[in-house]
């Protein structure tokens, strides 16, 4: 998210090996996400991921989400609803401090997870949900060809195949009456949370003491 810029500058001064790669999950491309990157004066690596490829690849189901990747290309944290700061109605001030700790202490940070915990934390998809990925991709192709009817058909099918993905639902709702945070989204969220589910994978920021 563009609001990471302040933290990026701060942490790069501490450790120049720290990098942020930010992926806008936006099927509308530059027109939708570009101005927001620009407004944030972002200097870290910025990608507009029209196909939501990164969410598919890392089994992420909502935004914002984050993954920590160490110097050897190993994942040391994954699948968390993450914010740079508390924005009032949403966000949290609890996450940025643990990123700071990781940048300062690397593998010795108590917030680094071992391989087993990472494997446990990776979101698991059903075979139907796996099929949602190429289905959503097909819908996005049509969307960018201007074929709204086919886009809607395959985006809807993707949501049915993978009801756990908030990305698929909200990307679609962006282009409908009510928008991505409108009544349909609220109803779904209330329904899922009422059934004991979570909108975001909850933050698990207890330090690992036996590291």
């Amino acid at each position: 998210m563009p609001v990471w810029q302040v933290i990026y500058e701060e942490l790069q001064a501490v450790n120049p090996n720290f990098e942020i790669i930010s992926f806008a999950q936006d099927s509308g491309g530059e027109a939708d996400a570009g101005p927001i990157f620009d407004a944030g004066n972002v200097s870290y690596t910025s990608v507009i991921d029209v196909n939501h490829h990164i969410s598919a690849l890392y089994n992420l189901v909502n935004v914002p989400s984050a993954v920590w990747i160490d110097e050897q290309g190993k994942i040391v944290r994954i699948n968390e609803g993450t914010y740079a700061k508390n924005h009032g109605a949403f966000g949290t001030d609890e996450y940025a401090p643990i990123v700071r700790d990781w940048v300062a202490n690397g593998a010795d940070s108590p917030y680094v997870w071992d391989r087993e915990k990472v494997s446990d934390k990776i979101f698991q998809r059903t075979p139907e949900a796996e099929k949602a990925q190429p289905t959503f991709r097909l819908g996005t192709y049509y969307f960018n060809q201007g074929n709204d009817e086919k886009a809607e058909q395959y985006w809807t099918e993707a949501q049915q195949l993978d009801p756990t993905s908030w990305n698929y639902l909200r990307q679609d709702l962006k282009y409908e009456d009510g928008g991505s945070a409108g009544p349909e989204w609220r109803e779904r969220r209330t329904q899922i949370e009422g059934a004991g589910g979570s909108y975001y994978a909850p933050l698990d920021i207890e330090p690992v003491t036996d590291n």
Binding site: M1, W4, N15, N17, F18, E19, I20, I21, S22, F23, A24, Q25, D26, G28, D32, A33, F37, T45, S46, V47, I48, N51, H53, I54, A56, L57, Y58, V63, P64, S65, A66, V67, W68, I69, D70, E71, Q72, G73, K74, I75, V76, W102, R115, S119, I122, P127, E130, K131, P134, T135, R137, L138, Y141, K150, Y154, R170, L173, K174, G179, S180
Partner: protein, 164 residues
């Protein structure tokens, strides 16, 4: 896998069809959009020339089979099979059959000649079993390819967000 009777029918339909230009075919895989000039007409499966197979998913048809890095799916090339046929001296390879064998999800819009493939589970073992960060290569806003492999030696915070 298809039941044998259906498989026989599928093979029959291939055997009976003449090699002709099918409608234009587009294949989506990862961030790729691959246009295919010529396919072997088939009601349900996607048959392409071996060079197009490589353009789609990096698999190469070698004497020992269809190979991607250290993975090789055996393909007999002296006879027709569910993966391979030869017509008028041209080799054809069944991409969707390979996908089924690899448990790779796919979907087709047959009317528009569009095929979309999901990730290959074999390539994702390292992610699930040993916390390896999956590789990607996507263009940044200036069009430069961003590859995770280029960030070795860095601590990377990968974040997703959206305008919606």
């Amino acid at each position: 896998m298809k039941p044998v009777s259906q498989l026989g029918l599928a093979l029959m339909s291939v055997l009976c069809s003449s090699v002709a230009l099918a409608q234009s075919t587009t294949v989506l895989y990862n961030d790729r959009v691959v246009e295919i000039d010529q396919t072997l007409p088939d009601a349900s499966d996607l048959w392409v020339k071996p060079e197009d197979l490589t353009r789609i998913n990096d698999f190469e048809l070698k004497p020992q089979g269809a190979c991607l890095e250290d993975l090789c799916i055996p393909v007999l090339q002296d006879r027709d099979s569910e993966l391979y046929v030869q017509r008028q001296g041209q080799d054809w390879f069944n991409v969707t059959e390979l996908a089924d064998m690899l448990q790779q999800a796919w979907i087709a819009d047959y009317r528009d000649g569009l095929w979309s493939f999901g990730g290959i589970p074999f390539e994702r073992r390292g992610f699930f079993e040993s916390a390896e960060a999956p590789e990607f290569a996507l263009p940044d806003r200036e069009g430069n390819l961003v590859r995770l492999a280029d960030f070795r030696g860095k601590q990377v915070l990968l974040v997703t967000w959206a305008s919606w």
